[in-house]
């Protein structure tokens, strides 16, 4: 877990990198690249099974979310991404982008929403190559996801949601549409997106118990401390969070076994532990490395330094 300074957990970086790389889907030849399939990473062996007619060739079950995770893990263990065949990955990723700018996560078909757009943006950012997507179209889709109350939904017309807000703002930041002057009225983004409303909506997500909820009138949940916290941080509005309140709420979600659960007194799970720690990093907790908010990784992992 990268935010820890001393890796008291023995993580065998090469072994991890090797295992992750074994999930990569490779085109058989250059002509394969035009066949509409996405050549990224599988999520697990379940979707990776050999073709009957050719025992070596593996069916392509690459998924955008697994690809984002794979690249993020590789960055965390310090693997040099220039060793990857990113050209095929990015060229083939274009066929996942829809005419409205959104992304489908797999070529065989699935629902499309902001989650996968975020994955695509993060992939391009980590590979430092925007050939994989049309950023302008993606931005349009994101702006269409802003809801009546200033928040963002996962699809146009959907109810505002903390996770969607993160996907929207982090994607815009990754794609270069959000500068450091976002809060000022003169910022370019404020002419198309209602940043003030988004800020108001996000601010109201921190509730009386100090925790942060994902939607109005829902219970505070550990992970939204990151989804909303990082959204506000990206907008430069961190100072508006009641840090003391949030910190004390998060501590009630920490289990006696270590790690964090979703709600106070719940057993921990990996997902809430990761985002709980990430939230503490945003809060400036001593001993935790600073985060690259828009990637959800430490700055060190993100920049490779």
């Amino acid at each position: 877990m990268s935010p820890f300074d001393s890796l008291s957990l023995k993580v065998h970086k090469d072994a991890v990198a090797g295992w992750v790389l074994s999930f990569q889907a490779h085109p058989r030849s250059k002509s394969d690249l035009g066949n509409g399939q996405f050549y990224g990473f599988h999520g697990s062996r379940s979707s990776q099974f050999p073709s009957k007619d050719n025992a070596i060739f593996i069916q392509n079950g690459s998924h955008l979310a697994s690809t984002y995770c794979a690249l993020a893990i590789l960055k965390i263990v310090g693997y040099n991404l220039s060793n990857i065949d990113s050209a095929s990955m990015l060229t083939s990723m274009r066929s996942l982008q829809q005419s409205d700018g959104s992304f489908m996560p797999i070529h065989i078909g699935a629902e499309r929403d902001l989650r996968f757009l975020y994955c695509a943006a993060a992939i391009c950012f980590m590979l430092n190559n925007w050939n994989g997507m049309d950023r302008e179209k993606a931005k349009e889709y994101i702006l269409n996801c802003q809801s009546y109350d200033g928040g963002f939904g996962l699809t146009p017309g959907s109810e505002s949601h903390g996770g969607a807000a993160y996907c929207a703002i982090a994607s815009l930041r990754l794609m270069g549409f959000i500068g450091d002057d976002c809060l000022s009225n003169a910022s370019a983004l404020s002419s198309k997106a209602n940043i003030q409303s988004l800020l108001d909506w996000s601010l109201q997500r921190q509730v009386a118990d100090g925790g942060i909820q994902g939607r109005p009138n829902k219970a505070s949940d550990t992970c939204y401390a990151f989804w909303i916290g990082a959204t506000m941080g990206t907008l430069g509005a961190n100072k508006f969070i009641d840090e003391r309140g949030l910190r004390s709420f998060l501590l009630t979600c920490q289990s006696e076994y270590g790690g964090f659960g979703k709600f106070p007194k719940e057993l921990p799970d990996l997902y809430h532990s990761y985002y709980g720690l990430a939230a503490f990093s945003i809060l400036g907790e001593a001993g935790l490395k600073p985060l690259c908010l828009e990637l959800g990784l430490t700055e060190g992992a993100a920049t490779g330094l």
């Binding site: 009957k52 078909g109 549409f177 500068g179 370019a188 601010l203 508006f240």
Partner: protein, 599 residues
Amino acid sequence: MHGRPRTAPKPEDAAASAAKAQKLRALQSQFLSYHHDRIYTKEALDTSAKLLEINPEYYTAWNYRKLAVEHNVKESESSPESVKSIFDEELKVVENALRQNFKSYGAWHHRKWVLSKGHSSLDHELRLLDRFQKADPRNFHAWNYRRFVAALLGRSVEDELQYTEDLIGNNFSNYSAWHNRSMLLSEILKKKEQESYSQDTISKEYEFVLNALYTDPDDQSGWFYHHWLLDQTSKAKAPLLVSSWPVPGSELVVSGNVSLGDHPLSSFSKVTVALERFPVVLYFNQTVEGVNSSTVAIQCTFVQNEDVTWKPFSPQNSWASKVWVGYLDLSGVDHHSSAPHTVEVKLGHHKGIMSSNGLQLSVPFDLSFRVSVKPLETQSSKDEKLVWEEDKFYACEMPIPCLCYDGISVGNKYEPTTSDWQIGTIAEEISQIRNLLAISDSKIGKITLARLLMAHDVMSSPYATKTVHAEEVLGLYSELMKLDPSHSQYYKDERSLVLLQQLLSSGGTLLKHCFYYGGITSSSTHGPICLRLNNQSISRMGAFDKLLWVQMLDLSDNELHSIEVLRASNHWLSTLTRRMCDLATETILVLRLNRVKML
């Protein structure tokens, strides 16, 4: 499953779950084999159904079923009943999967896919949705699906509105129902029926939401909806010029090293950058595009209008901004003559400057100022020493140069775009919310009232010169800081912006804060005018449009609380300073940020 509380496993459970995992793996490889071989028999389909019941997120299985459906439908082309039963079977599988996880993206997506094939009964879907609504009124998958089904059914907006009304009536905090209502209202308003119909609709909504606000003044749902109604009431306003630099009517002396052929830059430039071009800044009330030499005419002796390039001030955008800068090339000026040149700037006479809402700037603005140029003299290239002494401030008696731009528009042709209905509605809401706050201390209610009061002021005067309600708004933010201390920083910042508007909007108030500063040693005149905004509890800077004319700004003893904030708000002033510093420091154009003491 996400959201289920966890409990520690017992040893006998561990064995059971190991057996289950083994069974699952067998099922999975059997399934993959069918999928691979494209076998779509009943037995094969049953395998996939079993898998999906255990794990509805297994999207490969959903896609397999789509392929199976397409294949089997083709096979039974002749019999519509068997086609329908194929799709009905899919719906059953989805329902089973949803029972395991009513938030499964894959399951809902598959149901949508089935429905869009057009062979299934839609009435059943509404009944299904009712069941989901009762189980969890905030399930956004179900709500998205409802919108999809309503569209397929061609259900009237009014019927759906009634549905949300019933739900909200049962439970005012059903935020998802309010959200749906906003979607439906947007549809109605978009149809652009008669103005009076839209107005009636919005007025009725205000009444409806007020009931919710009175029932539970602390619940966010009604307030966010109310805020949205306020946005619908305000509508887009036409773009206007609200500020500019140089200040209209001013006399500028520009000195510096103008590069003249055989005079190398290095022999002069010590303090200033070589002067080549003179900036003209236009500040609008909203982001606009289309500012160029066809839409803005510069008339002066030393520059051709077509040679002036206008650029947006915003770094991230190359075609739209609230602020635009055009540069006048000064190399054509005769430097041996110090006679002033009149520069006229005219805009709004030709179409082209447009807001992002598509509204044209249609009010003409004519400004002029005078510029004289003289080369930089060696003695004035000494560094100016700024000595900061409190007793070196002298009260300003002369009137401040032009601040209010409604004097600039040609013939005061401005016609207000706000209607009586709009102002009347806002006034009515102000009264209602004040009543509500008399009986309840709702923080979100106070925020709403503050917004309403500011909106009313803006509507009453487009150049934001009237700040009738500023005092009341400042009071509200002070109350909020006490009522909701965990968000006090936010309220302080909002309060600062309102305060700045109040201080900078009226000539009378402004004058009280303006002083001549006699502390610059080389100055021979009164000294520059310093705007003193010290000790005002300002935590955030704003109203930059009203600060363009400022020569010195004193922000000491405020609460600008971090370097970042200062940098961000300073970005404005310092960038302008950099631009002004293209000109010599000796002139009255100097814009410097004075020492800011941070607490």
